[in-house]
Amino acid sequence: MRQDILNDDSLTFAEKIICVRADGLGKILRPGDITVLPVDLAMAQDSTGPLAIKVFGEIGVPKVWDPSKIHLVIDHSFPAPDEKVANLHHLMREFVKKTGVRLVEGSISHQHLLENHVVPGMILFGADSHTCMGGAVGAFATGIGSSEMAAVWASGKLWVKVPESIKVNLNGQLNKGVFARDIVSHFIATVGEDGGNYRSIEWKGPAVKDLSIASRACISNNSMECGCKLSIFEVDPTTQEYLRSVNRKSMYEIHAGSKASYKNEYDVNIGKIVPEVAEPGNVDKVKEVGEVEGTPIDEAFIGSSTNGRYEDLTVAAKILKGHKVKTGTRCVITPASKGVFEQAIKNGLAEIFLQSGAVFTNATCGACVGTHLGVLGENEVCISSSPRNYIGRMGAITSKIYLSSPATAAASAIEGKIADPRRYL
């Protein structure tokens, strides 16, 4: 039965993985149908985990379903910037001692899971919206809230609705100074802030083969900004090479059928995309960099689970090398994981950052969520490679956030105003 479903030519990725993984159902499900999935990996972080722990206590189940499959990650405010956060971190560590679940400190959850655990065909629920990043290697990975996470800890299962799917065909080649982040910003601008709500996005087309796992992770992660449930790159030779390099194996390699039906299909020539910048307030208010160039900034932030990987820091270093961050502007660079941090130090990136006058921090979500290491004051302006530019996201509700690739943020740090990265590459 499972093999029949895997070979079914009429199913999208989402339909197929749900049909394959739904326990003992033996039926073809279509968009709108509801079923229950077994969970392979459940993650909560330090701003959703404490509430899940509280709810789990209130539910009153004596034990978690499988401590080896539950990960608590202290990443958003690491290390604790104040006493209130420290107390919630303490609550998490105590829960880990009591239940034997896994504890990770000081790497952003999505990057940690990608580096160490996520495999194709896996069912991953995270109490964090950007969990959909796991789709970069063909996993069913999506975000939920704290109470549902507590229910997963108790039972190892969760209900899902089979989503409609969107197909995006990527063609062409990226130009100099244009990156994965610009592709996904361009797409969000096309479909709007809720254009992917409840839906599964499949990234296809000849240009996918040129995208590294890090670039796919950026796109899968940032797809959340149009509300998606899943954002999928199917297994291909790049994925297989990556899995070999980290010594992990697929659970299932799911490929959408050639006759699958999609709610929408988009063709994107990535060769026509330029550096993109989202204006403050909404993630879909995207402009070409030329339209906002020259806007004065107080801070440039390069980091987050969207764009804090080694690939991103390499580009930032290339641009910052031999330059100084403009006096009066702060440039905060925050790697996505301990591994990225270590690699940046070992390979001389840290030195370039420090010589430029940037601040190079430990791995954390930090400034992206306005919790520490780069919080914005009243009326301050920031350009950031993080995923969201919402009111008060990084600090004062009067502060303003422009979103861009790490390259555009780095070039802007040098000039103290929004700048076109192509001049530096």
Binding site: T48, G60, G126, A151, L158
Partner: protein, 180 residues
């Protein structure tokens, strides 16, 4: 706690795309586990003094994509503990919507509703019929929701449901094979 089936109250009308950073900023929600404390920061992005102005039994009416962005359950919790009785929107972001049912905050999707209601209109939510009655007396049906979710909401969310039934509402679904 089982919700009454008719909720009458005055409506706070919000625009499209009200995200969870507006509903409760990270730096407040990630520093407490107390829902009463969270409620002090409800709608902070629009009005830091909202918590002083909201009255028990008030209702929210919003445009499309209410609750977009972060998965933070503290967003619907802050609304619920502001004693807002229900949230009605033209559409909800996926995780926010799931969270509402999980914590027992009634959430009704009613296409076009934001244009039918003015700030502080007295309106009525019928949880039995799953509809909204606006000031002029017209009744607007909300989009259908699977019965197991409405049951979950009626019983006050996952904690209350589990205490009563010793299972989660979807665990009984599994055996019935809900495929159409």
């Amino acid at each position: 706690m089982t919700a009454p089936s008719i909720l009458k109250g005055r409506a706070w009308v919000w625009p499209d795309d009200v995200n969870t950073d507006i509903i409760i900023p990270f730096r407040f929600k990630a520093r407490t586990n107390d829902p009463v404390e969270m409620a002090k920061y409800a709608m902070y992005g629009f009005d830091p003094e909202f918590y002083k102005k909201v009255k028990a039994g008030d209702l929210f009416v919003a445009g499309k994509n209410f609750g977009g962005g972060s998965s933070r359950e503290q967003a619907p919790v802050a609304i619920k503990y502001s004693n807002v009785a229900a949230v009605i929107a033209e559409s909800f972001a996926r995780i926010f919507y799931r969270n509402c049912f999980a914590i027992g905050l009634p959430a009704l999707e009613v296409p076009g509703i934001a244009k039918q209601v003015k700030q502080f209109d007295e309106i009525e939510v019928n949880l039995q019929d799953w509809s909204v009655k606006t000031r002029d007396g017209s009744v607007h049906p909300a989009l259908k929701v699977p019965e197991f979710l409405r049951g979950l909401m009626r019983e006050g969310g996952l904690v209350e449901y589990y205490k009563r039934h010793h299972n989660f509402p979807w665990e009984t679904l599994e055996t019935k094979a809900v495929a159409r």
